[in-house]
């Protein structure tokens, strides 16, 4: 038949044997929960390597807290609370809310960027949990929220802020801020999974991020707002998170606001996590 065949038939038989040996591997029909967690942590490691190599990706949680804390405190301090020192207990928790929310926006934008990259094509053909490439970066971003909230507190303390809640209160506030960041990140993760381009995701995320931060009690007491605005600011989960951070850091008390904040975060997760997972799976 053919004269160009490169391998003699005997060789081919041997290959089939080798092949069968390879196929003796145990084939799983699905990914177990343990494997999903392990894969998520591996992809979280990948995301932290990326952060280390591209330090500018951390500007929003490093430079911004320093800059904004000083700026907002000195500009608004006198007007709102009479003095900078009196304003710090109000503005520091407010800025933590704002910085963490900014960090959340980056979560969605970076997910979108990641999905356009070649390495994502490989994730798609690997036998891994479909959710892991989404969950991994979200776990790694916990570090970003931690940096953002810790640095904001540190800047405040350097400027004369003395949190009445003590070390425990501040730590509690940081933990709450990290959890809130992770919860609210689902909103922007969803944008990341439905948006066509990273720029588009960034645009729509900022449009949502600004009202969420400014239409809250982050910078001014809501009592000064018109009724309709106040109605929104009072139900805004960001307001509750900031109130909860204030009560933890300033008074060291676990008030009802902490409960409301947790509930608000849970509600955001309940709505946006399934949406994100669904549209992400469609692309995986």
């Amino acid at each position: 038949m053919s004269t160009l065949t490169t391998t003699p038939p005997g060789d081919a038989t041997q290959r089939v044997t080798v092949d069968t040996g390879v196929l003796d591997r145990r084939l799983a029909t699905h990914v177990s929960l343990g494997q999903t967690v392990a894969q998520t942590m591996t992809l979280a490691w990948r995301a932290t390597m990326k952060m280390r190599r591209n330090f500018e990706q951390l500007f929003d949680v490093t430079i911004q807290p320093l800059l904004f804390t000083a700026m907002f405190a000195y500009i608004f301090g006198g007007a709102i609370s009479g003095s900078v020192k009196d304003y710090l207990p109000i503005i520091i928790p407010g800025l933590i809310g704002q910085t963490v929310l900014t960090a959340c926006v980056a979560t969605g934008v970076q997910l979108r960027e990641d999905m356009d990259k070649g390495v994502f094509d490989r994730f798609k053909v690997l036998p891994i949990a479909r959710i892991a490439p989404l969950a991994g970066p979200m776990v790694a971003d916990l570090i970003r929220y931690a940096i953002a909230s810790t640095l904001t507190f540190a800047t405040g303390i350097a400027m004369g802020y003395r949190p009445g809640g003590g070390v425990l209160g501040v730590l509690g506030a940081i933990v709450l801020a990290i959890f809130a960041g992770w919860s609210l990140a689902w909103i922007f993760t969803w944008f990341g999974t439905v948006g066509k381009t990273a720029q588009g995701v960034q645009g729509i995320s900022l449009m949502v991020m600004f009202p969420l931060t400014f239409l809250s009690n982050a910078f001014v007491p809501t009592e000064t707002m018109p009724g309709w605005l106040r109605a929104f600011a009072d139900v805004n989960p960001v307001s509750h998170v900031i109130s909860a951070i204030r009560s933890l850091a300033n008074d060291g008390q676990v008030t009802g606001e902490v409960g409301w904040a947790l509930l608000g975060c849970a509600a955001v997760i309940a709505v946006f996590a399934p949406l994100s997972v669904r549209s992400f799976n469609r692309k995986m």
Binding site: T7, A12, D19, T42, M49, D121, V125
Partner: protein, 342 residues
């Protein structure tokens, strides 16, 4: 479709539609274990789309496919454990070093940290990347990326490897290295399914070839079978004496029943052959006439001619046909395709 144990890939009537367009329109493929199977076709023919469906990257719109007896549509997770896929573009992480990339993919597929490290070191060695192991991918050349990409597909030693245009965009030397690597894979017992738009690549590597054009399989067989199915061989004799050319031409014409093509300047005569054995008849007849021959060659038609005969157009003339999943190769130099095949 009954499960066939000897087949690595068994596809029947595969269909993929993008809007109104049928990018893949009823393709059957049977890839045997341990062979290199080439899917040859121009840009936009549906090669990549076919491969993506088989790799669970695109849903199958019609027909069905099995990989080692596992249904591609229903057992995606099983399929992904059996496959290594290397696409046209390096799918590795730009932010990581070569070693870190291999560690990442090893760990993701359940290898222990130690095993991942060992396997990464072995693969980097095998692919001649040890010196670049700690360098960021951004410093890699095209060929190095391609090799790293292929090694990333091999971490768990998958029995079946899909190579989507493995040498598109590579310089000739790097292409040759890649071909060597692919041959080594087969020696290790892998089954390879590769797509290519280079006729000589299919000729060099593939045990069997399916020619795909506009989403339809137009031919299948070994390189030789394809060549003899359309083209004819030809005998070229280099005569000792130019004056014999006329007699030689008449003699050959009488035997094969067709007009030989003489080239007086180079004292050559090209005789079309219906069957290869006719070459002997022609040579015997020439000797009987006392015509001296300096050298001779028997040539099979090139795959290029095969392609032209099968599809009615040359291998590279179909770039206008858009296939949304297969348009990535626009950077390919079309002239290379023809050159390489001649």
């Amino acid at each position: 479709m009954h499960t066939n144990d000897t087949l690595a890939v068994h596809a029947e009537g595969l269909v993929k539609t993008f809007g109104d367009q049928r990018a893949v329109d009823g393709v059957d493929l049977q890839v045997r274990r341990g062979e290199v199977f080439g899917v040859l076709g121009p840009n936009g023919a549906g090669k990549t789309t076919t491969l993506k469906m088989l790799a669970t990257l695109l849903p199958i719109d019609g027909g069905r496919a099995e990989v080692f007896g596992h249904d591609v549509s229903r057992e995606g997770h099983v399929i992904r454990q059996l496959l290594g896929v290397t696409g046209q573009y390096a799918s590795v992480d730009e932010n990581l070093t070569a070693t870190e990339n291999l560690l990442l993919f090893g760990r993701l597929q359940g290898l222990s940290r130690a095993d991942s490290k060992r396997r990464a070191a072995t693969l980097l060695e095998q692919f001649d990347l040890t010196e670049a192991a700690a360098k960021p991918i951004s410093a890699f050349s095209g060929g190095m990326r391609r090799r790293l990409d292929l090694s990333a597909s091999l971490i768990t030693r998958p029995p079946l490897i899909f190579l989507d245009e493995p040498t598109t965009g590579l310089d000739p030397r790097t292409r040759g290295q890649m071909w060597e690597t692919i041959r080594e894979l087969v020696d290790e017992g892998c089954t390879v399914l590769l797509t290519t738009q280079y006729l000589d690549e299919a000729d060099q590597l593939a045990d069997r070839i399916a020619v795909i054009d506009r989403g339809v399989k137009v031919a299948e067989g070994t390189s030789d079978e394809l060549k003899s199915s359309v083209g004819r061989s030809s005998l070229t004799v280099h005569l000792a004496d130019r004056d014999d050319l006329v007699v030689a031409t008449t003699t050959a014409r009488a035997l094969v029943g067709e007009d030989p093509v003489p080239s007086p300047e180079s004292r050559r005569l090209s005789v079309p052959l219906e069957r290869s054995e006719q070459a002997v008849d022609v040579l015997v007849a020439l000797r009987e006439k006392g015509i001296g021959i300096e050298s001779l060659t028997v040539q099979k038609p090139s795959l290029d001619e095969v392609f032209l005969a099968l599809t009615g157009h040359a291998a590279d003339s179909d770039t206008a046909d858009s296939d949304t999943a297969d348009t990535d190769d626009s950077d390919t130099d079309d002239s290379t395709t023809l050159e390489a095949a001649s």
